[in-house]
């Protein structure tokens, strides 16, 4: 092979102009076309798979150099190139249109990319997304799906609780191995946070739905409107299935325990985003679900959820300020999304922590009282600067407040089933992701607390392997 020629700068992806995109929920980033995707793929220096740091950085270990090679090997035959690339991706990740969009690549696969040492890392996320999008548009994904269909006779039956990223991945991996899988989902649509949490301008729901079509094609049954713990118990599932996977996430919002929390127009980010994304309240009254957003919105928090809520509120016509108790460099949201929020006109206030919501005579919020915060040099366990109140206060006007300070696991399951859990409600699992109940595995936010989509998918995949081993062992001993 010829000595690789290094191209330091990545091929850019076009984005919709700010003034156009803030008026609607259409996707901001437009992605690569084939020619620019190949050009970007050609920048990869093709580290061998057993060494490639990008593969190690990916929680589901996609053979990244492999799929980039497949793309450029058939640069004159786009359909062929994409089919080969998608096959490589699907071996490890069945939801590339999702992960290519929502993964924090800068902390995962792209962080250790060798090219990043001399210039820009390879734009792996956008290339993954390109492959998935092109394949979907050309129907290539449907053709390829037949290759992944497995014989399901007699291998075993698995129940998956929760149709979010962890559950979907676990179900798809098990289906590819030949298990008969049933997913139980509490809401009326599958997808979990991908459906109710992440807005259309980052992950269009039509695209998500086509990704979810794979479930049916691979023989996975989805039972919506089933609340495990209420509609059916874990014990009953264990009676019917060989194993159970819990991927119920962390969906219960943390609310601030300060005066005024029950005032009108104070939303948890989960309620706000569920109304907007799942119920399409931004299309009210064409859709029946209402949402009340005023002219001045304050979002409390600075994670991805806060960015999503802020940018959604902006698109509903409000002026939006994010208030965060730490500094700019402490924000946990993706760099790309913070950038998008700033471009779109979201304002930021740092080192402020809310102490009271102030209401008007009608019980509507009209202002938030904050205490000013001072950072210390000392760091906490997560490496963040410790902070301390200054005793100084500032009051900001707001007619709507969205609280995005984090989520914790829902306790419905815990109460009903007697799992061993941590004080924060996360399930305790062993190194094979098995819970304290034999045959019941768990992963994603249900065991981690609020984390990322891709870590949940990594858990789903790992659990699928462990479940396979468990069921094989059980059948051998039977």
């Amino acid at each position: 092979m010829a000595k690789p020629k290094l191209i330091k700068e990545r091929v850019p992806t076009p984005e919709r102009p700010v003034e156009e995109r803030v008026k609607s929920f259409v996707e901001v980033n437009l992605g690569y076309d084939f020619a620019s995707a190949v050009k970007e793929a050609e920048r990869c220096i093709q580290c061998p798979p057993e060494y490639a740091p990008c593969i190690k950085g990916c929680p589901v270990h996609i053979n990244i150099p492999g799929f980039l090679k497949a793309l450029r090997e058939n640069a004159d035959k786009p359909d062929e190139a994409v089919k080969n690339a998608l096959r490589v991706i699907w071996n490890d990740n069945t939801l590339p249109a999702v992960t290519g969009r929502v993964c924090p690549q800068e902390e995962q696969c792209e962080a250790p990319c060798v090219m990043g040492k001399v210039g820009d890392p390879i734009n792996i996320g956008k290339l993954e997304r390109f492959v998935a999008d092109y394949a979907r548009e050309k129907g290539i994904d449907r053709e390829l799906l037949t290759e992944f269909m497995a014989e399901t006779d007699g291998k075993g039956r698995v129940a998956v609780v929760g149709a979010g990223p962890a559950g979907l991945t676990c179900a798809l991996e098990l289906a590819k191995m030949g298990y008969k899988v049933t997913i139980f989902e509490a809401l009326h649509e599958a997808g979990g946070v991908l459906m109710y949490g992440i807005p259309e301008f980052r992950l269009p729901k039509d695209i998500l739905k086509t990704e979810l079509d794979k479930l049916e094609k691979l023989g996975v049954e989805v039972k919506t409107n089933y609340i495990v713990g209420k509609t059916v118990t874990i014990e009953e599932l264990l009676g019917e299935y060989d194993a159970v996977f819990i991927g119920t996430g962390a969906g219960t919002p943390k609310l601030l325990n300060i005066p005024g929390i029950l005032l009108d127009r104070i939303y948890s980010a989960n309620e706000f985003l569920t109304r907007v994304n799942l119920m399409k309240a931004y299309k009210f009254p064409e859709y029946d679900t209402p949402i009340a957003v005023g002219k001045k919105v304050i979002v409390i928090g600075a994670g991805n959820t806060a960015m999503d809520a802020a940018r959604s509120a902006l698109r509903l016509g409000a002026e939006v300020t994010i208030a965060y108790r730490r500094g700019r460099e402490d924000m946990t949201a993706r760099v790309e999304e913070i950038g998008h929020a700033e471009e779109e006109g979201v304002k930021f206030e740092f080192f402020l922590t809310p102490v009271e919501f102030i209401g008007d005579e009608n019980g509507k919020v009209k202002a938030v009282k904050f205490e000013k915060i001072r950072p210390l040099e000392e760091r906490d366990k997560r490496g963040k600067r410790k902070i301390v109140g200054t005793g100084e206060y500032v009051t900001l006007e707001a007619d709507t407040v969205i609280i995005a300070i984090g989520l914790e696991p829902n306790r419905i399951l815990l109460e009903e089933s007697g799992f061993k859990a941590n004080p924060d409600g996360t399930l305790i699992v062993d190194e094979n992701l098995m819970t304290s109940i034999p045959g019941v595995f768990a992963g994603g936010d249900a065991i981690r607390g609020e984390a990322t989509v891709i870590l949940a998918m990594g858990d789903g995949k790992k659990a699928a392997k462990a479940i396979d081993e468990y069921i094989k062992g059980k059948k051998a001993n039977a």
């Binding site: 509490a186 809401l187 009326h188 039972k223 919506t224 409107n225 089933y226 609340i227 209420k230 509609t231 059916v232 969906g251 219960t252 919002p253 609310l255 325990n257 929390i261 029950l262 009108d264 127009r265 939303y267 948890s268 989960n270 309620e271 569920t274 109304r275 119920m279 399409k280 299309k283 009210f284 009254p285 064409e286 859709y287 029946d288 679900t289 209402p290 009340a292 009608n362 019980g363 829902n410 306790r411 419905i412």
Partner: protein
């Protein structure tokens, strides 16, 4: 999986009865629990209460009061044989099933349909249950069923005065409610009062019950979206703590509830609810032309 409407009928003015095939709910539901229904593709999720069920045949009965766009659309557009898109449940905690003694179970308006399964189960458990239904004259429901199910069923109706606006008419119901409750509590000794109805009426009745120092439980109806504890739309302050009615309730100790807050919160979307209704009415009229 859609859920088939086996039977639909108007059982009183603005009160619609649906018997629906929903075996997953019918198999598990207990008195006090509810379901979340989404009837249409562009529809919202609304909480409703299974009034009756047959575990073997796999059906539940829901009775809706036509109050806004969704309940109106359901009444207008759904026919027997049609399918409801989503019914999630059962949700919430079952009502406490104990021997409390002599119970006064109150239902204001269509609230009585939620009282029915609980009162019936309490009576079957050996309690002496008196049910009280206060509503407008043309809105009487489940009279025969309650007379059969509990020790005594008292029906108090208030005429709708066409010369008065709706809020004023509703005040007459509140007045009759509080008067009747006072009369009953003065004459007889009750061990517990239970109520389902609008938050304002619940507070009015609670203020009477409180004077007698009798324990009271209330089924609360805050706004809900998911009904599974993941959004907090239904939060209420109970005993000074924030609780989610969908997972911690819907039944709470009336003495612990912050009624003012609850009443304020139930009116949060009134403007948009009216707009949704008007748009729907406009569309209907347009369709008829």
């Amino acid at each position: 999986m859609p859920y088939k409407i086996l039977e639909k009928k108007e059982i009183a003015m603005r009160n619609i009865w649906y018997r629906i095939h929903a075996p997953h709910v019918a198999k598990k539901v207990q008195p006090g629990q509810f379901v979340i229904v989404r009837a249409f593709k562009n529809g919202e999720r609304i909480p409703l209460t299974p009034v009756m069920w047959d575990r073997d045949e796999g059906w539940i009965v829901l009775i809706t009061f036509i109050r806004g766009r969704t309940t109106m659309r359901m009444a207008n557009e759904l026919k027997p044989g049609d399918e409801i898109l989503n019914i999630a449940g059962p949700l919430g905690n079952p009502a406490e099933m104990e021997k409390f003694g002599k119970i006064l179970a109150i239902g204001a308006y269509t609230g009585i349909v939620e009282v029915y399964p609980i009162a019936k189960a309490w009576q079957e458990l050996g309690n002496d249950v008196t049910t009280l239904h206060v509503t407008f004259e043309p809105m009487v429901v489940l009279k025969d069923e309650l007379e059969e199910a509990v020790g005594r069923h008292i029906l108090e109706t208030v005429p709708i005065d066409p010369n008065l606006d709706f809020p004023t008419n509703m005040k007459n119901v509140t007045k009759r409610l509080t008067e009747k409750v006072r009369e009953l509590l003065e004459k007889e000794e009750y061990d517990m009062v239970f109520m389902v109805g609008p938050a304002g009426d619940q507070r009015a009745v609670f203020n009477v019950v409180k004077e007698f120092g009798i324990p009271m439980k209330s089924d609360l109806h805050p706004i809900m979206v998911d009904g599974t504890g993941m959004c907090g739309a239904c939060r209420v302050t109970v005993g000074g703590e924030v609780k989610f009615a969908c997972i911690d309730g819907p039944e709470f100790d009336a003495y612990q509830v912050n009624w003012d807050e609850l009443i304020a919160r139930s009116g949060y979307y009134t403007d948009m609810e009216q707009r949704a209704m008007q748009e729907y009415m406009k569309a209907l009229q347009g369709g008829e032309q």
